[in-house]
């Protein structure tokens, strides 16, 4: 892993824990943010290949509903989360086989279509999903231990943080591998890959399945945190939100998604607190400003600051 990331990573992790100690309500916000960050990490993989999915909320919902459906049978987080990731992987593979053939707008729209079909199913199959009312998830055990609510929240936050660190590290390893390095070729000229004897479709499929698994895991964590899942999780605006976070955080580093997710959630909370009727407008304006004036996102801003400091030193 890039050594330049070690310090900011540690600083960010410490900040998250410190803030959560100082303000207990942030435990929940940060857990959800980190879980979304995992899904955005997946979006980042696809962005490297120049592809935007406008439907990845699908996999968040797949993960979340996996937890909700299995909770009556399985009461253990350490089992539920891997199952959520597995469900994301399976659905991601099935959908990926289809969408990996398409590029650009078609890729984005097909993902959108699949997520909207899934959303409709969640609403429709009322007998199983309870429709928009959603399914309640009784608090599961962690490692066989039934924790009190506060301890549980801490455990989920710390666990998610650990997962974010581990998976962030793994994704950065992945991006440094030949497979990861081949992703940009899909963005520019994928025939180059074909002439190197490599199927661009398969490269994209691998990234796609990985992104689905990450989003599935993120969805599982969200279900274990909110303890209530609704079909809204898979609505297309939530997919747009994931892409938004990816750009906000910056696609240049694996820290970007988590940085973006945390800032997104905080901006939304404070915008909603200050302007309950117009928080969406504030978020839109933030996004607009980022794209127009700092297209490399928050991580890009950080890099610029640090680089400038380095140059001065």
């Amino acid at each position: 892993m890039d050594r330049r990331l070690t310090l900011p990573t540690l600083a960010a992790a410490t900040t998250v824990v410190a803030l959560a100690i100082a303000a207990p309500w942030l435990k929940f916000v940060f857990t959800v943010a980190l879980a979304k960050g995992l899904a955005v990490l997946g979006i980042l993989l696809l962005l490297r290949a120049g592809q935007v999915s406008f439907g990845h909320a699908l996999y968040i919902a797949v993960g979340a509903y996996t937890v909700a459906f299995l909770r009556p049978a399985i009461g253990e987080v350490l089992l539920l989360l891997p199952l959520a990731a597995t469900a994301g992987t399976i659905v991601g593979f099935a959908v990926g086989l289809f969408v990996a053939r398409y590029r650009d707008i078609f890729f984005g729209m097909l993902n959108l279509a699949f997520s909207m079909v899934f959303y409709s199913l969640l609403e429709k199959l009322y007998a199983y999903t309870k429709g928009t009312d959603g399914i309640r998830v009784p608090r599961p055990t962690i490692g066989g231990v039934t924790l009190d609510p506060v301890a549980y929240e801490w455990a989920v936050l710390v666990g998610t943080l650990a997962l974010a660190l581990t998976l962030g590290w793994l994704v950065s390893r992945f991006l440094a591998s030949p497979l990861g390095q081949a992703l940009p070729a899909i963005k520019t000229r994928e025939t180059r890959l074909e002439f190197a004897g490599i199927s661009a479709k398969r490269v994209l499929l691998v990234a796609y399945v990985a992104s689905a698994a990450l989003a599935g895991l993120g969805g599982g964590i969200i279900a274990c945190t909110t303890l209530h899942v609704t079909p809204l999780l898979s609505y297309w605006t939530h997919s747009g939100e994931l892409v938004f976070i990816a750009i906000l955080g910056g696609a240049g580093s694996v820290l970007g998604p988590f940085l973006g997710a945390a800032v997104y959630e905080l901006v939304r909370v404070y915008a909603a607190a200050a302007f309950p009727d117009a928080w969406q407008m504030i978020l839109g304006a933030v996004l607009l400003v980022i794209i127009l004036f700092a297209a490399r996102g928050l991580w890009g801003m950080y890099e610029d600051l640090v680089l400038r400091k380095d140059r001065r030193a």
Binding site: A23, T132, G134, T230, L266, V269, A272, A274, L298
Partner: protein
Amino acid sequence: MAKLTRRTTLQAAVASTLALPALLPRQAIGQQKPSEIRLGISTFLSGPASVFGVPGRNAADLLIEQFNRAGGIGGVPIRSIVIDEAPGVDFLLGECRRLVQNEGVDVMLASISSGSCLAVAPLAEQLRMPTILWDCGTQRIFEEASYRYCVRTQANAVPEIVAPLLYLMKIRPDFRTLAVLNQDYAWGRDSWAIWKAAMDAVKPGVRVVAELFPRFGATDFSTEITRLLALRPDVIFSTSWGGELDTFIRQAAERRLFERSTFVLPLVESSLERVGKTLPEGVIVGGRGDHWFLHPTAKDTRILKDFTAAYRQRFNLYPIYPTFHMAQALYGLKAGYEKAISANGGSWPSREQLMDTMRGLEFAHLTGTMKIREDGQGLEPMLIGMTKHVNEYPFPVIDRMVLFPPELTMNPIGTKGLDWVRLLTPASVQRAPAEIPYRA
């Protein structure tokens, strides 16, 4: 707070996050009389359901001002903090935590969406947060779990659907065919399930000729209307609301569907002013409780007259059922606090004392008095009637009103609504009270 949030930089956001908790050191159980009661309200401020959410919020603003002018509750003024439940459960639960753990909110008034209520109730237990469910309709909440910190100050889906059915049976017992057109989401499905089960119990053999569930948020029902025109069912039942109900009514009126079938619209009270006399006479009207600004027994009371006048003056609209629901929540809260204070010998009650008092509480509100049952469920009558056009108003009024008492329409504690409605009999219809005609 406002100053902090206006800063937009990351640093400021982080800094303010750090600073906020320190600003508000509060004890979990405040036995001392607080300087203010902080009231968190979750409601829809965006999206289609803001048709209900914003009137609810408006009612809260109006009543809280009134309460505070009169000395608040037990001498303590109320301050409300409103949050938007539109972005979804994950956001709402974060906001609730923020309100409780950061803003030091004393009481929550939770949610319009049933999904939100189902998610918030367990959190309320966890945070020991007194919570009043002010508008959501699902009967699942108190049937599937028991909560110490949650009560509901209105009825639920069961009486809201059973009452119009009993009314239909009374007014037009001879119908043979029926079609349903509901929004395709939990409420639309739930309310149909209740209706169907109850109808099969009180009048077996009715043929359901079409079950139409157009997409939630649909903007066009002309295909559905063509089909209904062709099928000519005796009765068309729809629990749709908001813009979709308005659209359905307009499109149905333009194509004279009202001339062919009897409509049962249990939520149409909230659309009357908007659709105006496009809605013909003879449509069965409900409003999720006994809410109407011309409530037959309360319309001449000071409290309702003043409220309607003040609301109209401020918002240029007549109050609709969500405003009444909000009022019930606030009157209930006030009554609960006051009773708990006096039971506590004049000193400020703990959260637990407050919530214990809320159970079994009877309190007066805009249209009468209501009671909160031991399980936390509110009991209120159901006002069902039929549209009538009069000169005094540019929109239909409700005539031939029947006020169904809760005993007739609400399942007892410990039963499940969907099971209980199957036990209804044709005799239930006979027990309905007498009609009250509209009087100007």
